[in-house]
């Protein structure tokens, strides 16, 4: 049995979600017989890791610091094995712009988009390019911060009038924002876990919001606000295509251990578009990865056990 540090909480806007994920994971680890060191990530993270010297770190930290490779880099520096994707994959996946460029370059379908930093607008007059962008993407346009998880800061611009305010809102969360073509369709999530040296796509979850016209931040984390259908009621052929696409993105971004890839199934044409990959997907009661695992006959404790087993040694130690 191992001494496992569970990294959770932190300073990001997804702190509450992360605390929920972390608490659940801790329970599972204890049931599995491990010694748990819960760490609410803050200024004393390194000091605490140095003092406790865990055998392994389970990263349940969502959002900034947890998904963008920051704590992974620290764990590398300290020589502590950790769960999930390595630093470079975290950087690629957490920056939606990098991820979408990588997908587009590879020919993976992702909704058409443009991305700009604040400086492009402030110093280079990017605002003057907005009409051309709007013409190409067509309304409604989804405007979102490049790095924010969940749905915080995501706005729908239905007309040109909405675009500036939507950009201002998105810039509240990040210095880089994305304008993306809106795909009208069904919201699918393919979770993937590493297994026997390979990767295994789990049954697809469809998230169906009960009230809002958008699968929003609130609905995503509250029991009863969203219906989850798993396995999603879609044709086998579509499910197969979605899983294959998700695996391709998982590999393309270099994900490891586990991840969740979000897709849209476009109404009428049944085309699939990859929105993003999440390297630290939620592990709360309402999260999609645990539901998918459950549908595959993998209970939560077993899922946590597998995630732990897939933890990789730091690159420095492997070299």
């Amino acid at each position: 049995m191992s001494r496992v540090a569970v990294l959770k909480g932190g300073r990001s806007l997804e702190r509450q979600v992360s605390l929920k994920s972390g608490a659940r994971v801790q329970d599972a680890l204890e049931r599995l017989g491990h010694e748990v060191i819960p760490i609410d990530v803050g200024a004393d993270l390194v000091a605490q890791l140095m003092a406790d010297r865990p055998d392994i770190a389970l990263v349940a930290l969502h959002g900034r610091d947890g998904e963008d490779g920051t704590v992974q880099e620290l764990l590398e520096a300290m020589g502590i094995p950790y769960t999930g994707s390595r630093v470079s994959a975290c950087i690629r996946a957490s920056d939606k712009v990098l991820a979408k460029h990588a997908m587009r370059d590879r020919g993976v379908p992702t909704p058409d988009f443009f991305a700009f930093s604040e400086t492009a607008f402030k110093d280079l007059g990017a605002a003057q390019a907005l009409p051309a962008i709007e013409e190409r993407l067509q309304f409604p346009i989804v405007v979102k911060p490049a790095a924010q998880g969940s749905a915080l800061g995501i706005k729908f611009a239905r007309t040109a009038h909405d675009v500036p305010a939507a950009l201002v809102a998105a810039f509240s969360y990040d210095r880089k924002v994305l304008l993306e073509r809106h795909v009208v369709g069904r919201d699918l999530a393919v979770s993937i876990i590493d297994e026997d040296g390979g990767r295994r796509p789990l049954p697809i979850v469809e998230a169906v919001p009960k009230e809002e016209d958008f699968y929003d931040f609130e609905a995503r984390y509250e029991i009863g606000r969203t219906s989850f259908v798993c396995p999603a009621e879609i044709d086998a052929e579509i499910a197969e295509r979605a899983s294959a696409l998700a695996l391709e993105v998982y590999d393309l971004l270099g994900c490891a251990g586990f991840a969740r890839v979000d897709l849209m199934l476009k109404n009428e044409t049944h085309e699939l578009f990859v929105l993003e990959a999440n390297v630290i997907p939620g592990l709360t009661e309402t999260s999609l990865l645990p539901q998918a695992a459950d549908a595959a006959g993998i209970g939560f404790d077993e899922l946590v056990g597998r995630i732990l087993a897939s933890a990789g040694s730091p690159a420095a130690a492997r070299a």
Partner: protein
């Protein structure tokens, strides 16, 4: 900071399969008991390094620890067995006599038998809803309304209709129009909820004329009014006005107040004064909620009133809060851009500021938290998604230096967003408010309102209409 979540004490978690099972068990009303992204943002406010202008907290650090110790000793010596025992649902008689004194200080005469001691003023709102509302019943509230009342109304599945305010409080013409509209639809509101003094969150006070008008309307239409008056004694300027209860003489007004702001929210004691038949039903409702409020704190408050002149502490609070209000008003004038507007409260704890409508204060809060400062986004004060560009700022809970610094930081991120919007729309860059230092007059009204058209810099207005400050529609469709 490290927090041990004490995993050993937590029961086993559910499996994913259980989710729908639980969901099917939830009562219908929980569907409107919304959590929100805002709540998750608010979780970050608890960090030590955040200057929070978000709370509604009185400054309890001003209460002398020696007095607290002495009062607790008195409770132990004089009331020990009773303090440790259950009490009557309606509250202990000695405490009711204290309440009579507090209400008299605002010119309201009340008989002890007309009082129900409650667990904070919040319980009055809950008990009134519990007593009066069936699902779908209409409640009329101000726009904006006390954010803490919104979840209570929602929990009882009320249909909340919000009526516009201006600098004199709830607009009676709007109220009449709303009532007429409801009547046409065959609907009669169960009660009208109002915070007449130093409104939370709007910071305005209902004028004497409107108070009489509201009571007249209530009598004519035989409607109940819930008068929520937690801050009435915290007046920093102007002439005190009579309570609705004193004008109404106990026929249609249910009066709610609390010891939270004049002594301590930690004692969790408030009270209701209501017409007897209503009070009796509320009493029964309270029995099912908590049997009685804390006996210990009831005797604590009684001992406090017996120990000396309670008004002295209130006066000391008034001095502290008045200075803090002035500091905040000055800081707003100095640091907020001219496109921002805000109210000038004569008392209470809150200022309501409104930004150009292209700024969403929920998103702005996320940005402000990066600068370690927080406020309450305006949407919390509406049931219909309005208030998106407003914010509630509290000036009682933190010291003067923190208020200055907090407003400076918020002002900086607001100016950043105004500037970005100007860049995006081709409007001219943000300029600082033109109000002279030391004045508290909001600067300009207006500013860029249209995303399409370049905005001209707004000109200062001497007396901006409060309805505009409160970002209210000209006509609110009833229903």
């Amino acid at each position: 900071m490290t927090i041990d979540e004490s995993p050993r004490s937590r029961p086993p978690r559910s499996t994913a399969r259980d989710i729908e099972r639980y969901a099917s068990l939830f009562a219908e009303r929980t569907k409107v008991m919304k959590s929100s992204a805002m709540r998750d943002l608010m979780a970050l406010i608890e960090r030590d390094d955040v200057i929070s202008l978000a709370g509604g907290l009185p400054d309890t650090s001003t209460f002398p620890p020696d007095s607290y110790a002495a009062l607790m000793s008195t409770v132990a010596a004089d009331y020990c067995s009773r303090a440790l025992q259950y009490g009557p649902t309606e509250g202990f008689a000695p405490l009711k006599r204290c309440i009579v004194k507090v209400m008299a200080a605002e010119g309201t005469t009340i008989a002890p038998d007309d009082l129900l001691v409650t667990t904070g003023g919040q319980q009055v709102i809950d008990l009134v809803c519990k007593t009066l509302l069936d699902p779908g019943d209409v409640v009329i509230a101000e726009a904006p309304t006390y954010p803490g009342a919104v979840p209570t109304f929602c929990a009882y599945q009320a249909d909340v209709v919000q009526v516009a305010m201006d600098r004199d409080g709830m607009r009676m013409d709007e109220l009449e129009a709303t009532l007429a509209g409801l009547e046409r639809d065959g609907r009669r509101p169960k009660f009208i909820y109002t915070v007449p003094n130093f409104h939370n969150p709007a910071g305005v006070t209902m004028s004497l004329e409107r108070r009489h008008e509201l009571v007249r309307i209530a009598h004519e239409r035989e409607l109940l009014v819930l008068e929520d008056n937690p801050y009435g004694l915290l007046r920093y300027e102007g002439t005190p006005l009579p309570t609705l209860r004193s004008i109404d003489r106990g026929e249609y007004v249910i009066y709610a107040s609390t010891f939270s702001k004049i002594l301590s929210p930690g004692v969790r004691l408030g009270w209701a004064a209501a017409p007897r038949p209503v009070l009796q039903k509320m009493n029964i409702g309270k029995q099912s909620s908590d049997l009685c409020s804390s006996s210990i704190t009831q005797f604590f408050v009684t001992a406090y009133f017996e120990a000396g002149p309670w008004e002295d502490y209130v006066r000391s609070l008034i001095e502290i809060y008045r200075r803090r209000r002035d500091v905040m008003l000055d800081a707003l004038a100095e640091h907020f851009p001219r496109e921002a507007e805000w109210t000038h409260p004569e008392g209470g704890l809150f200022i309501w500021a409104t930004l150009p409508d292209y700024i969403d204060t929920t998103d702005l809060l996320a940005r402000a938290l990066r600068e370690n400062v927080a406020f309450v986004p305006g949407r919390a004060a509406f049931v219909d998604g309005r208030g998106g560009s407003s914010m509630r700022l509290n000036f009682s809970g933190v010291g003067e230096d923190e208020i200055r610094e907090g407003i400076r930081r918020i002002g900086e991120v607001v100016r950043e967003q105004v500037g970005m919007y100007g860049t995006l729309t081709g409007a001219r860059a943000v300029s600082t408010a033109s109000a002279a230092p030391g004045t508290d007059r909001p600067a300009a009204a207006g500013g860029p309102r249209s995303g399409a058209a370049p905005a001209e810099p707004a000109q200062p207005e001497a007396d901006p209409a409060l309805a505009k400050i409160l970002r209210l529609p000209a006509n609110r469709k009833a229903g």
